[in-house]
């Protein structure tokens, strides 16, 4: 059973992620979960799209497919349907998944193909220098929202639930233990598992929003997260939940019909 370090492609280090970036944390939690699963490296394929998040596939020791912007899930569909014996893990980001790849996202969830999709949501286009994304909070600054973002945001976890994924959770880079456990649960659950990770981008998001220090951003993610069980209780009680918060925890775990199961 390969250890976490064996899951890394050592000759690709150093990575391109900025100092303080949250993507390394998410990658590490994913590889820890793969190791905990007892998966074999040669039975596993990592697929990714374009953006900071999607560079993660290239740092894994396994076969990996770094594809085009937004299309990772469509490529992964081909890999998994042609060869269901593979463990397929997709790395994507908020722009890659919900803007240019939105159509593929809802259809992959609908098909409920047996794979694990990990979205590193840093609320910004990091690779291109910090433009607003469909997940940039209202009022937040970016290079394309110089007066504060005006558009309503996507709730990716709720979208995945509505579209039919069998397992959906959201955590942050602060919640390392919960995130690792959740990814493992996702890997164990037949069907499409969607794990959204709120991740810090001090370089592009933080610098525009008075969160320049990585720790400031991680604390921001911690302080603005609210357990989904608590959120639902407050909603039931008719309490007002600040719209700057986001729910974390397990959104759904169910057994809708699945495609691409191992034969």
């Amino acid at each position: 059973m390969p250890s976490v370090s064996e899951w890394y492609r050592a000759d690709r280090m150093p990575h391109i992620f900025c100092t303080g970036c949250g993507n390394g944390t998410v990658l590490n939690c994913t590889l820890q979960a793969a190791s905990d699963m007892g998966w074999e490296i040669d039975d596993t394929v990592f697929v990714s799209g374009i953006g900071c998040s999607s560079r993660a596939s290239g740092y894994t020791a396994a076969d990996s497919l770094h594809t085009t912007h937004g299309r990772a899930l469509a490529f992964a569909t081909g890999v998994k349907m042609a060869h269901p014996e593979f463990n397929v893990v997709v790395f994507t980001g908020d722009g890659d998944l919900s803007a240019i790849g939105g159509n593929h996202f809802i259809h992959a969830c609908r098909r409920n193909i047996d794979m694990t999709v990990i979205c590193m949501n840093n609320m910004i286009y990091g690779m291109t220098g910090g433009q607003g994304s469909p997940c940039t909070p209202r009022g937040a600054f970016s290079t394309t929202t110089p007066y504060g973002a005006q558009e309503p945001t996507f709730d990716l976890a709720e979208l995945a639930v509505a579209a039919g994924a069998n397992y959906v959770s959201r955590w942050t880079t602060y919640h390392v233990k919960q995130l690792t456990d959740s990814i493992k649960t996702g890997m164990e659950t037949p069907g499409l598992s969607f794990i959204e990770t709120m991740s810090q981008c001090p370089t592009s998001y933080g610098r525009k929003n008075k969160l320049r220090q990585p720790l400031d951003m991680i604390e921001y993610l911690r302080d603005h997260s609210i357990l989904i069980s608590k959120k639902r209780r407050l909603e039931a009680e008719g309490k007002v939940i600040p719209d700057t918060t986001f729910a974390v925890g397990e959104f759904v775990r169910r057994s809708r019909p699945v495609m691409g199961l191992k034969r």
């Binding site: 299309r71 349907m81 259809h107």
Partner: protein
């Protein structure tokens, strides 16, 4: 048998076991037949959410070692441009069927055209090379689809069957052989780097997923290891020159055409439906000196075929577009080239071609 069905049968005979597609007139019968047949041969049919997803899925499938194909027409073909480039730079063997219809845009969904001939060659950004086959009979829909798969495996590039509504929807009696020659995936030798090549072997072996190669595949400019190397001038120049050269340097071996009347002064160059019309006028007027080139492979363009006609004073190129391949002919010969566009959805009639022949004959002068 219908042309589109013959195409699907050819694909199955060639070993295609993954089809990802999206319904579009006039190519849909290919997908429908694949939907029916794939479960019977242990393959996978999947109807994707759009044509971008369709080509993405077949590239993903191809990396697992499976022969994969999609089929579409103009509007879907336009959507596929993005990942045609991805297949080119990652050297993924895939086959794309384009049953052409009238464009631009939604154009004439049920009518025939050849307006995507330049798009299949140059539609995706950047420099690379591809192979495009052009059937003019239902029999060739079968045979050239088999050949498309074999060329995709041999050259590891996107290969196109550039058919059209006329041939796709035509019904003809065909002969299906008991077996066909099939080229299978050439696996990367152990110990070699994923994109390790030399001058004599410009096409690397294929590091199939799950076979222990632990390959990283990326659309970024990459080195022999497959790792991104995006700011090194030499890495990029070497890669692009190889992607172009591996096909273009073999264009005379890849070439597939037949010729007739090589001593003629007036030569028709055709591919697809117009080939049938030229054959008709040659049959109708056996006493006329008519030269004919029928291309079964248009890209890479086999310019040497033009030299087979030493007396040629004019090449007439009837196409169901505004002169896309005619321009390629003109690029390779000092001889006069006459474009004979036919737009609107109908193929060239014998009268169309005879009028052009008589006009050119009068300009040349002299006896028959």
């Amino acid at each position: 048998m219908q042309g589109n069905i013959a195409c699907a049968e050819g694909a199955l005979a060639a070993g295609c076991r993954f089809f990802g597609g999206y319904p579009i007139t006039p190519s849909t019968e290919v997908a429908e037949h694949m939907a029916k047949m794939m479960p019977k041969v242990g393959g996978v049919f999947i109807q994707m959410e759009d044509e971008i997803a369709s080509i993405s899925s077949i590239i993903g499938a191809s990396w697992t070692g499976v022969k994969a194909m999609t089929a579409t027409s103009g509007p879907g073909f336009s959507l596929m441009m993005e990942n045609i480039g991805y297949a080119a730079i990652t050297e993924t063997p895939i086959v794309i069927i384009n049953v052409q219809r009238g464009g631009p845009s939604t154009g004439q969904p049920t009518m025939s055209a050849q307006g995507d001939m330049m798009q299949c060659r140059f539609g995706s950004h950047g420099d690379f090379s591809i192979i495009a086959l052009t059937p003019s009979t239902v029999q060739e829909m079968y045979e050239l689809t088999v050949k498309a798969f074999n060329l995709a495996e041999e050259f590891r590039c996107p290969v196109f069957l550039m058919s059209d509504e006329t041939i796709g929807h035509m019904r003809e009696r065909i002969e299906i052989p008991d077996s066909v020659d099939v080229v299978n995936r050439k696996e990367l030798e152990k110990g070699k780097l994923p994109y390790e090549t030399d001058a004599d072997n410009p096409v690397p072996g294929f590091p199939t997923f799950g076979h222990g190669h632990r390959v990283h595949v990326t659309g970024l400019t990459h080195d022999a290891r497959g790792y991104p190397d995006t700011t090194n001038h030499k890495t990029h120049s070497d890669l692009v020159r190889r992607l172009v050269g591996k096909v273009e340097s073999k264009r005379h071996e890849i070439a597939d055409y037949d010729i007739a009347g090589t001593d003629a002064e007036i030569v028709f160059l055709t591919y697809g439906p117009a080939t049938r019309t030229v054959r008709q006028i040659m049959k109708d007027s056996p006493d006329l000196k008519i030269g004919h080139i029928n291309l079964r492979i248009v890209w890479p363009f086999p310019e040497n075929v033009l030299k087979e006609f030493p007396n040629a004073k004019v090449f007439i190129v009837p196409e169901m577009n505004m002169g896309q391949i005619g321009r390629e002919v003109a690029r390779h010969t000092p001889v006069k080239v006459v474009y004979l566009p036919k737009l609107g959805g109908d193929m060239h009639t014998p009268q169309d071609l005879m009028e052009a022949y008589d006009r050119e004959k009068a300009l040349i002068g002299g006896g028959n």
